[in-house]
């Protein structure tokens, strides 16, 4: 299991005290067997490339705590395999998508080092099951953002810079047939992130007023703006900071936070998806297909 102190990722899901000490329940002998079954189902889907049946069959449709416990099992396993946490992602930040899921808060997942790509870097579509793309603002933290009462001013102060980003979301659940617990357990349907390379400081920046266009084949396939993300991406990051601090996994300096989609997500396909965020620059996801990798 994880070593001596490795505080945030030893599998706990409840915060205990401000010192960072936590109560580990997941991974302990009394962990709910249904959580392990759900984790195993998702792991098999990722490994074989064959999407699986919804895990809500195992953990229920509404128990978000159980779903985050399953997510933690998956993250812990990836860490044991040598992966490293580079940040988090926020999902369900659009009122329309929240209504579709019947939930009224966002959710979150974990970004690992092998998910991160740079502007124009080729990305093999074969690594995904059913990928979709969306354009976002990525926050990079210059300092810890670890208060369970963090608010927007804390976010602004802790943010070193923001980058334009394309998130590739993916679901291990067949046909994207997901409810809230399915997506949370499946690491918030994370796939990959493509980071732009033009950092902007938040000083004087109105993120709600940033126009977004995502083009494929020279035509916009998704359009939107910063206000589509909970009214302002800064609000989404403040929500995340509070949620993960309460869950004992506070945001740390250096983390990359994908704050949520600025417009509808679209199916990823071979070719370049070019996101432009008005005033923040641009980023391109270059999706490639490997010969013979289809089928």
């Amino acid at each position: 299991m994880s070593g001596q102190s490795a505080p945030a990722w030893s599998g706990e899901h409840e915060v205990t005290d401000a010192s960072g000490a936590t109560t580990s329940t997941i991974g302990a002998p009394d962990a709910d067997a249904s959580w392990r079954d759900a984790d195993e189902r998702l792991r098999a889907a990722a490994r074989t490339g064959v999407a699986c049946a919804p895990v809500r069959e195992l953990i229920g449709e509404t128990d978000e705590r159980a779903a985050y416990a399953v997510q933690s099992l998956g993250v812990e396993r990836r860490l044991a395999e040598g992966r490293r946490i580079v940040g988090r992602k926020i999902g369900l930040t659009s009122p329309a998508v929240q209504a579709q899921f019947g939930v009224y808060t966002p959710d979150y997942g974990v970004l690992l080092d092998d998910m991160v790509f740079a502007d124009r870097e080729p990305i093999d579509l074969g690594r995904f099951l059913q990928p979709r793309a969306e354009a976002e603002v990525a926050f990079v933290l210059g300092r810890d953002l670890d208060s369970p009462t963090a608010h927007v001013a804390d976010v602004i102060r802790a943010t070193e810079f923001v980058l334009p980003a394309i998130e590739v979301v993916d679901s291990r659940i067949a046909g994207w047939d997901i409810r809230i617990t399915d997506t949370i357990a499946d690491n918030a349907s994370s796939g990959a992130v493509v980071l732009g390379t033009t950092p902007h400081r938040l000083d004087g920046l109105d993120l709600a007023g940033v126009g977004m266009r995502l083009d494929h084949g020279g035509e916009p396939v998704s359009t939107g703006s910063g206000a589509a993300c909970l009214g302002n991406p800064v609000i989404a990051v403040a929500w995340l900071a509070r949620a993960v601090a309460r869950h004992g996994r506070p945001l740390r300096a250096g983390e990359v936070i994908l704050s949520g989609a600025l417009g509808p997500m679209v199916a990823a396909a071979e070719g370049v998806f070019h996101a432009r965020l008005d005033g923040l620059g641009e980023v391109r996801a270059d999706f490639t297909t490997t010969e013979g990798a289809a089928a």
Partner: protein, 263 residues
């Protein structure tokens, strides 16, 4: 009475009585030429009652909008002075069947745009002003359901429009990715980008010129051109203030009032 004038009479009656009519061509297309002939006949009736042509509007300029309506081509319609609301003005929802509202970009034409000698690339030079706009659309068809021919005949669902402060084009180009917000009583309803308008609202000029030439519309100095919607259209509430904000361009609002605009 020709088919076009009969269709126009039915659509005119539906609009004046705020009661929906049945589709003209629910099962069989009447053809785009007949549809535009119907629209021209419909506008001739309005002009005969004293309305004046104020400009043109484009429809289905965004992928999201086309998908919402189940059509796949840009269309053109006509707006009159009777449809124009002041910025902040009142729209009496009782005059409409099932009105929806959407944020747009509008152009003011400074020169005639329909000179056959004019190249499409010169269209941009004819623009004297650019402004944020709100358009109220109201299909005269039951359940807002129609074919492409139906909606062309129904004057592209045009019902009312309001335009914000004009800005000089040189001061605001380019407009290909400006954040757009539609708010109802101060609450965010839709967030989008001007990129939804044909990929870049400047392309609306080419599209208008092409459609106007093909289907017999004049594009004259002093006319307004509504370039298309930046987000999906949302139902207009029975009462409330709707505001469109386009980053770097400004804002415009309309007050919906179910009491006939008395307050």
């Amino acid at each position: 009475m020709t088919a076009a004038s009969a269709f126009a009479a039915a659509l005119d009656r539906a609009q004046r009585t705020a009661s929906p009519t049945t589709q003209l061509a629910a099962d069989a297309a009447i053809g785009l030429d007949a549809a535009y002939a119907t629209q021209h006949a419909l506008l001739a009736r309005r002009v005969a009652r004293g309305e004046r042509i104020a400009g043109l509007k484009l429809g289905f300029t965004s992928r999201a909008k086309a998908q919402q309506m189940g059509v796949d081509d840009v269309i053109i319609g006509t707006v009159t002075d009777a449809m124009r609301l002041e910025n902040g003005g009142v729209f009496d929802v009782s005059t409409a069947i099932h009105p929806r509202i959407e944020p747009e970009v509008a152009y003011l034409l400074g020169d005639d745009l329909d000179d056959p000698a004019l190249a499409a690339s010169d269209a941009v030079g004819a623009v004297a002003g650019v402004a944020p706009a709100l358009e109220v659309i109201d299909s005269r068809y039951r359940d807002f359901t129609f074919s492409l021919d139906d909606v062309v005949a129904d004057n592209a669902s045009a019902a009312a429009f309001a335009i914000g402060p004009w800005r000089s084009p040189e001061a605001v180009w380019p407009l290909d990715n400006r954040a757009v917000r539609l708010e109802i009583d101060g609450r965010l309803s839709q967030a989008g980008s001007t990129a939804a308008i044909l990929g870049d609202p400047v392309r609306a000029l080419d599209a208008a010129l092409r459609l106007a030439r093909r289907h017999g519309f004049a594009l004259r100095a002093g006319m307004v051109l509504l370039a298309g919607a930046a987000t999906v259209a949302v139902p207009l509430p029975a009462r409330g203030v709707v505001t469109a904000h386009v980053a770097g361009l400004g804002e415009v609002s309309v007050r919906a009032n179910g009491d006939g605009g008395a307050r």
